[in-house]
């Protein structure tokens, strides 16, 4: 028994050493030489992260980085509800307890509110060969907007968030259901839906009966609608195609006047359809967080959803999922007409108007201006961004890190091999739809602009409450969005229209 234990310990040490050696082979010569000196011995840096899989992944990499560099990276995690507050309490008070924040992209507007921004650009470190190497061009252009401000890099690549549509391939291609759908709706059951109307029809058709024959009632759609549970992102990704078009790139504010666009007829129609969609899922989802909503899909009880890359990866874990090998993915459905809120007119299309998005936190590291060791902090953040480490995280659902870099995608879009995924337990039939869906989403020329303005947190919360009130039937879509227009105006006026205009234009890259 003792010999077996020694053998096992030896094997583990061996893997660790091989891992470190492997890492060193992937490093530049300058980096390798630099690390020989254990350059950060005795130095501690603190990174504040959202309490989720993201923070556990950061802890995983921190342990490796500590071993390589001699430094001590401590990751502190805070729940979503208090995270923004915790970050800005540290910055506003000047305490500077944390060197970096693994933040959400909508925090940027608040970072750049004061004359001297709260975060520093990483461009001063990017070309230094002693730091971990990562290729900025590996991050797709749509995502680069999330990591940059006014054309400069501030964020180090980590997570890449966007909403895509997920569907049950096996159910939508079932011949019996196809025949019944066609009888009811007069057209072929789409697999996947290409338009919002098709999405609604499919969700309605599959809602409320046992289509997977497991003895339980099943649902058309699942969403995390709990107020404060990121439910507003469902509405935002749904509504994009009702407003963004080849003729209009504006969703949130008029860039000339900063007048909120949120109650345009396009937004109203989107919310009306969204409220209808909510009825095709379990009523309880109005109180659901991410985990509960995803769980319904993973247990095989919802035929459609739209959410982040985590779901596709989690579906591969057979301990939690019964849909491995059955889950399809595609970019968000489009519309056949969209409203231009600037020109104030509806636009009709011959084919579906589909819009990409970079919706969500895209949780990534930024460096605090109060950090006493910004270069060391950059070293850790860029260690996580190195290709091998980033790919390691992408292919494992439990890391919370979603793909968005070229080496994550299969041919012809990227350099990954399907074996890279299947060796990590992915089902062969799930990999290509998943990676292609994200690639096509990010490379769509039409993109939903993210909300990157000061107090984005407050604007988004107000939207969250408004859409929940419509979903619960308390207000009509028009009443809710007209109210919301007033709330948005009030927030803008309170911050100061001039300040918000500056931030908005910097965020959008406008002069």
């Amino acid at each position: 028994m003792k010999r077996k234990k020694k053998w096992l310990i030896g094997l583990c040490v061996g893997f660790f050493v091989v891992g470190l050696v492997g890492v060193s082979f992937a490093m530049t010569r300058e980096r390798t030489e630099f690390l020989k000196t254990k350059p950060y011995r005795g130095i501690t840096i603190k990174v504040l992260s959202l309490k989720a899989n993201i923070s556990e992944t950061a802890v995983h990499f921190a342990k490796q980085w500590n071993e390589l560099t001699g430094g001590d990276c401590q990751v502190v995690s805070v729940p979503f509800a208090a995270f923004h507050q915790k970050v800005f309490m540290d910055l506003v008070t000047g305490r500077g307890e944390y060197d970096a924040f693994i933040n959400g992209d909508w925090f940027y507007g608040d970072y750049f509110l004061p004359e001297k921004p709260y975060i520093i650009s990483i461009e001063q470190f990017m070309d230094d060969p002693k730091y971990p190497e990562w290729d900025p061009e590996s991050l797709l252009p749509a995502l680069q907007t999330v990591y940059k401000w006014n054309g400069k890099w501030y964020g180090v690549p980590n997570d890449c968030d966007s909403h895509v549509m997920y569907y049950r391939r096996d159910i939508l291609t079932n011949p019996e259901y196809q025949a019944r759908f066609k009888t009811k709706y007069g057209y072929d059951l789409p697999a996947p839906p290409e338009t919002v109307d098709q999405f609604l029809d499919v969700a309605e058709f599959f809602n409320g009966w046992d289509w997977d024959k497991d003895g339980k009632k099943d649902y058309g759609v699942t969403m995390h609608m709990r107020t404060g549970g990121q439910g507003m992102f469902h509405f935002i990704s749904w509504a994009a195609a009702y407003v963004i078009s080849p003729e209009n790139a504006r969703f949130w504010f008029n860039p000339e006047t900063l007048d909120p666009l949120i109650n345009s007829p396009g937004h109203v129609k989107a919310l009306e359809d969204f409220a209808r969609l909510v009825k095709y899922g379990p009523p309880a989802m109005l109180g659901w967080d991410l985990g509960e909503a995803w769980d319904l899909a993973l247990k095989g009880d919802a035929v459609l959803t739209f959410t982040w890359g985590d779901l596709g990866a989690l579906a591969q874990d057979e301990k939690e999922s019964v849909i491995k090998g059955k889950i399809g993915a595609a970019p968000m459905p489009g519309t056949m007409r969209a409203y231009d809120p600037i020109a104030k007119k509806w636009i009709e299309f011959d084919k579906p108007n589909r819009v990409g998005n970079v919706l969500g936190g895209s949780w990534h590291g930024v460096i605090s201006r109060y950090s006493k060791h910004p270069e060391i902090t950059y070293d850790f953040l860029s260690y996580m961004a190195e290709e091998d480490n980033a790919f390691w995280a992408f292919v494992r659902g439990y890391t919370g890190i979603d793909p968005g870099r070229t080496f994550a995608f299969l041919e012809p879009y990227g350099t990954a091999d399907i074996k890279d995924y299947t060796e990590q337990g992915w089902h062969l039939d799930d990999v290509k739809p998943y990676t292609d869906a994200y690639y096509l989403n990010y490379t769509n020329a039409l993109q939903l602009p993210p909300m990157r303005i000061s107090r984005a947190d407050e604007y988004l919360r107000a939207l969250d409450v408004a859409q929940a009130r419509v979903a619960m039937g308390e207000l009509t879509a028009k009443e809710a969005l007209d109210d919301l227009h007033g709330v948005f105006q009030e927030i803008t006026d309170r911050v100061g229209k001039d300040k918000q205009m500056r931030i908005f234009k910097e965020a959008m890259g406008l002069k």
Partner: protein, 284 residues
């Protein structure tokens, strides 16, 4: 009696504590409620009653006030009634009453946030224990996804947690009533209810008033339980006043409007307490 300087020395720590942790923060909050202090502000200046007027024009203010008043009315009434009932019942030396008292008071030692998170499991709509048992009666309740039931969930959990607080105070008050008073009363009254209404209740009124007031003041400050359970949702159905104040101040860094909300709450609670004392003085 000659005053000695030493007696001031002994009250100095408490005085300093009150000045530093009560008086100064109160003055500071009042000051910023009349200023423009928010994220990114570099210069503070006086804005008069603008923050108060802004709050009064804000629909979320009236919603949170309404939700809080509804919660206070129902929860405090239920807690005092149930606390008094259980104190009266368990004041008798029934078999097992000691063990029951211990079990009954145990929720008091759980943090409100923990109770809130526990509530997510208890009231989980698809498969939680409450709906599981209700399903045998053919009933399904949307505990956390319906505006009214979400508030009921908060109230039920709060009653479970804080009824023991009232119970402990009133039990102690009942146990302090000498037995010979009851023995004398039994010469004139024949039922337990008469004993309660004409003897016990008047004698424990001071303790009842204190318990009621303490609970009333605490209830207006409710935060942890609904924040953990529903985060103020669904929509703003359980966004009690303290959650709104927290959001304005600490989440949105709009300290001035948050301070104005806090001062308004202080005023509302003071009015309730003063009114209550006036009624008690008139009656007793």
């Amino acid at each position: 009696m000659k005053k000695r300087p030493l007696q001031y020395f002994f009250i100095l720590p408490a005085t300093v504590w009150v000045l530093v942790f009560t008086v100064y923060p109160l003055i500071y909050v009042v000051r910023i409620s009349f200023s423009n202090y928010q994220l990114g502000t570099t210069d503070l200046f006086f804005v008069g009653f603008r923050n108060y007027l802004d709050n009064f024009k804000d629909a979320t203010f009236w919603n949170s006030l309404r939700v809080t008043l509804l919660y206070v009315l129902i929860a405090v009434t239920a807690q005092v009634t149930l606390g008094l009932y259980f104190a009266w019942i368990l004041n008798k030396n029934l078999k097992g009453s000691r063990i029951f008292r211990t079990i009954f008071t145990s929720p008091l030692f759980v943090a409100p946030v923990a109770v809130g998170y526990l509530g997510i499991t208890i009231f989980y709509e698809t498969g939680g224990p409450v709906n599981y048992f209700l399903s045998f009666l053919g009933v399904h309740v949307p505990w956390l996804s319906d505006r009214y039931f979400a508030l009921i969930s908060v109230i039920l959990l709060d009653i479970w947690e804080w009824t023991p607080f009232i119970f402990i105070i009133l039990l102690a008050a009942l146990q302090s009533i000498p037995e010979d008073i009851y023995e004398a009363a039994l010469l004139d009254v024949s039922s337990n209810s008469q004993l309660f209404w004409y003897i016990s209740l008047p004698l424990i009124t001071p303790a009842l008033v204190i318990a009621f007031l303490l609970k009333l003041i605490e209830s207006f400050k409710l935060f942890g339980l609904p924040f953990a359970l529903t985060a103020g949702g669904p929509a703003n159905a359980t966004e009690v006043y303290s959650i709104l104040t927290y959001r304005k101040s600490m989440a949105y860094f709009d300290f001035s409007h948050g301070a104005a909300l806090a001062i308004v709450l202080l005023f509302v609670v003071m009015v309730c307490v003063v009114q209550f004392f006036r009624i008690i003085r008139e009656r007793y």
